[in-house]
Symmetry: D3
Subunit: 233 residues, 6 copies
């Protein structure tokens, strides 16, 4: 696990909108996690490798406060998280119990976890907002995880928001939500993403100057030439 | 297409709550677009004729980045939008792809489009918020439209948020969402809306003064007389 | 109806997250109202006995503006609300009509109602935000209640957000939403809640100091002893 | 409560499709119960006054096997049902617990209940099918009612499948599902329904003979005259 | 419009399961119409070109019994359907009103329409089952179309069950539901489908004979050789 | 893995309705799998230990026809299934792709698998019905698994229909659907189930004889004594 700091730095300047467009051109349409919004919009982009956690629904004999002390607990999972990772949590689509509250989020922040992403809910939201941990989630719910969920393991393949996430895929999170870059495609996105951002910024400046869309975006040959000339200029 | 400036001005002072009440009295219960909230709440009311756009779900042979350059593209639709219109977009209830991002919204703003309404999602939300275009939508998603949607045309009858919208119906948007006034009923709403707003403001002042609700709202004859006396006063 | 002021005061310091954990230990997993968020997050906790209202779906012969003047109307229900109560409204899961707008909310505020909770929608949201009444709801919709709902009574058992609420159960509302404490369990929560809050604050300070989670939360004997020593210290 | 035998007999020959068309002409669009299908399709039409029952979601302190013995139990409700009534059960949209099984359905059959309708689920379906009671429901589930539901009363206004049902409204059930005729409109449907059925049968025979639809259905003056002539002939 | 009889004949022997597998190999994952089941399972496969119809949700001023007599009505659409076509109806996902009943279905059967497919509901189901028209639909509902739907046109691009359908795409329907073959890919499916069916029948006979799955399905070289030898044998 | 034949035999006479009632008395409310109905109702009860399979949603780089030949494929999982087991498949709630068709079901039947249960869909339904394998599923869909799903492993904890299933829990399936008996509670259900069935059969005979419900079911002391006397008689 782990990506070079240059990879993280390069992708910090590429929006999830741009990443999804580039992955679509490679045939990947299902890499945006449905229902995971930033708890604190406008706080920027986070990039890091996925550290996965998996819940299944609660069964009263399994999902108990006592289970929090077991060897296969969320606590043990958190202590296994490496610095800089993005914790991605499969909450089985359940949003009427919160997967983590202020104490667990504070510990993740302390361990240098870059962010938490889940299709489930956070709890004790005012406490969580007071920690250092950025959170993308599907809402807020007061009840503890065991009211609706049974924790079963970490660093397994998971489903999150209708998307398959494999351990060590690269996650990018911003105000549009969370996307997964399969490990094998990271280099390509690092190569093409920043250039795409530059091109779109130029297109936007053209639109601000009054250029109509047809021929501009997507660009025809004349537009493409004008853009290239401007870059060299 | 087009409504007199006085129509737009008059309705700018009538809330969507009041409009839906008046249309209900005419037997219309289904004229509020479900799931279209302002991206920037608290920024006021927008009034304008509907310019409709229609998507169907994506099929991989139809929904491609190449389709953006075709004659029946969203780009062509935008260039056909008249100043002051409200673009109303049928996104087939799909919210895991964004219909438009910053570049297309910037162009709409440039063309004088009054607002964008959709039951689907916007993308590149921070970029969209930086444009001049007010947006009412069903959320935010990173993927491009072609990840989930195929564009098929404009100025056709559409479904949006469970409501039928016909080209040139009058749209009114505020913090309660978006409502459709059928063209044939606009004059009636223009006539009755402002008076209803005046009456409700008076009722609210009565409530602030401690008057109980029964007999006040809806008004009995005594209340009605008192209100009329006050107006003349 | 009515709880001692000490009860209300004690629970004002106990989060809904803590309350749901304590009730789970008593076997109650379904006491958090799904889909009721604060219209104005960050404005604190509200505690009060439930005053229930019940709607069923609209039927065009029953749900009319004329019904607002009937003896079994929302207006009559509001005039029956005692000071300090929390109005809990069963909106039959319908969110495309608003149960109340600014005038009714203003009257509730005037009567000293502590808060309004519903799994349905509010309407005229800017007006409602201008009143004194704190509101937890499932969204915002322009249409009047009679566009989607028929009012049928008050102080009956209701369903709200998938939870059974009985008249005079105790409601606690904060940024994590709304929870119901069955009347028979209030004394127990009043007894255990504040201590649980103290313990969790101490755990959080330990986490801030770098203590790992296993053995800390839930506490093992050593941790428990250290905490007790600190309290006595 | 109770309708004349002639009313029941007349409506036994009028389909729910025809009834909903006639009620739509009176402005009633929401009188068909969503999600209630016959357990045994093809077994004919049932007509009878509504006897309502109401559940709210389960709360573990309220929904217990012990509650089955209480005074406000489903058992007591069944013993209050008059012969010929249609039991209409508000299951709060919950379909993962069965409201009744073979024993309760057998008792209803014994008491002469005409049918059971619910938006919830039945349980012990093979046993229920072995009783005399016709059932329209939203599916089948093994768990007992108290696994998901709390029973709260009978002969109250209820919501069932998104429709308001008042005690003593008249229910008509067939393979298209269940519809509610408000008590005040029964006479009108009894008057117009049979004639509408006669007309539609004639139209169908015309279609079988090769007549195209325009001008036939809805009928123009010529068609109407031809039909009237045929009736008199 | 229209496909050669040989095309229809060839595809009558290819299951929708096989067609979706072949189209997946061409990158098409979204060509199966969600929620359209045969009203009468076990009655075989239907193949024919799509004739599309489009509804949007009902608005009380547009969706009226009077609209049935207008020029842009479902009646006019039916009279425009060619023999052998499959009527594919976009019901805007609405299933609490029936798009067609016995009279319209009887007329379609009379005109030689091969089948009706919709993501909406049929009505008067016992009458529809008595006609010659095979129907794939999303359920059954008593209310007439105008209780929930407004008809807007035919032979336009539509959404049906989350799938884009273009006029004259080729539809194949069987007990697994309904699939769309884009017109440009029909020849390829006609070429590959029957061979794939032969191969799968051989695999099934191997399984019946006790061969384990690995190496058999998908076949390794040895299996492939054995199959080819058997074909030639 | 494996239960004594006497266990399987005893539970073959206990309905899932009775099992869920007994487990509820032990505090277990969430052990019935939502949305898994018998493909062929009325074909009796199946009992066997759970053999779990797990899918996550499709990602185009992972879910390919080629993956069917990999070491971690559904084929390998099927070859690992012991005789008499019930295959329980977590399909991530996805119902627009079929997890297995006729070939894989035939192989499971050949290996002596007792039944297949899933919250997802089957495909090639006519072929599956022609095999020996009883199937409980959430519907039927033509597309292959890889159109919507990625297979990730077997004999792991899974979610199925909102329920946690652990490998080797005991599954019981009948016309009311599928229930999970946690391994630790099997002996208790084997002990109490048959007696509960005897008691309910006696109650049903009492109802048939005209006994009212109160005091009968649940039984009061007099009823209980009468039942016991009858048993001894």
């Amino acid at each position: 696990m782990g990506y070079e700091p240059e990879v993280v730095a390069a992708l910090s300047g590429v929006s999830t909108a741009t990443i999804t467009t580039l992955l679509l051109r490679r045939g990947l349409r299902n890499i945006w996690i449905r229902g995971a919004s930033p708890l604190r919009p406008g706080s920027g982009r986070v990039v890091g490798p996925a550290f996965t956690l998996r819940f299944v629904p609660a069964r009263e004999d399994l999902a108990t406060p006592e289970s929090w002390g077991s060897a296969r607990s969320t606590r043990a999972a958190i202590e296994a998280m490496p610095e800089g990772c993005v914790a991605v949590v499969d909450a089985a689509g359940i949003r009427d119990a919160g997967i983590f509250g202020d104490i667990l989020c504070a510990r993740m922040g302390k361990r240098g976890v870059a962010a938490l992403v889940t299709d489930g809910a956070a709890r004790d939201v005012s406490g969580v907002l007071a920690t250092d941990l950025p959170v993308w989630c599907g809402g807020v719910a007061a009840p503890p995880s065991v009211a609706g969920l049974t924790f079963v393991g970490w660093q397994e393949p998971i489903a999150c928001g209708g998307v398959a996430v494999m351990p060590d895929d690269l996650m990018v999170l911003d105000d549009d939500g969370a996307v997964v870059i399969p490990a094998a495609l990271v280099a390509e996105i690092v190569e093409k993403g920043p250039e795409q951002e530059r091109f779109e910024a130029w297109v936007l400046s053209e639109v601000d100057g009054g250029t109509p869309l047809p021929g501009l975006y997507p660009p025809n040959d004349e537009t493409r030439a004008r853009y290239e000339a401007g870059r060299r200029g």
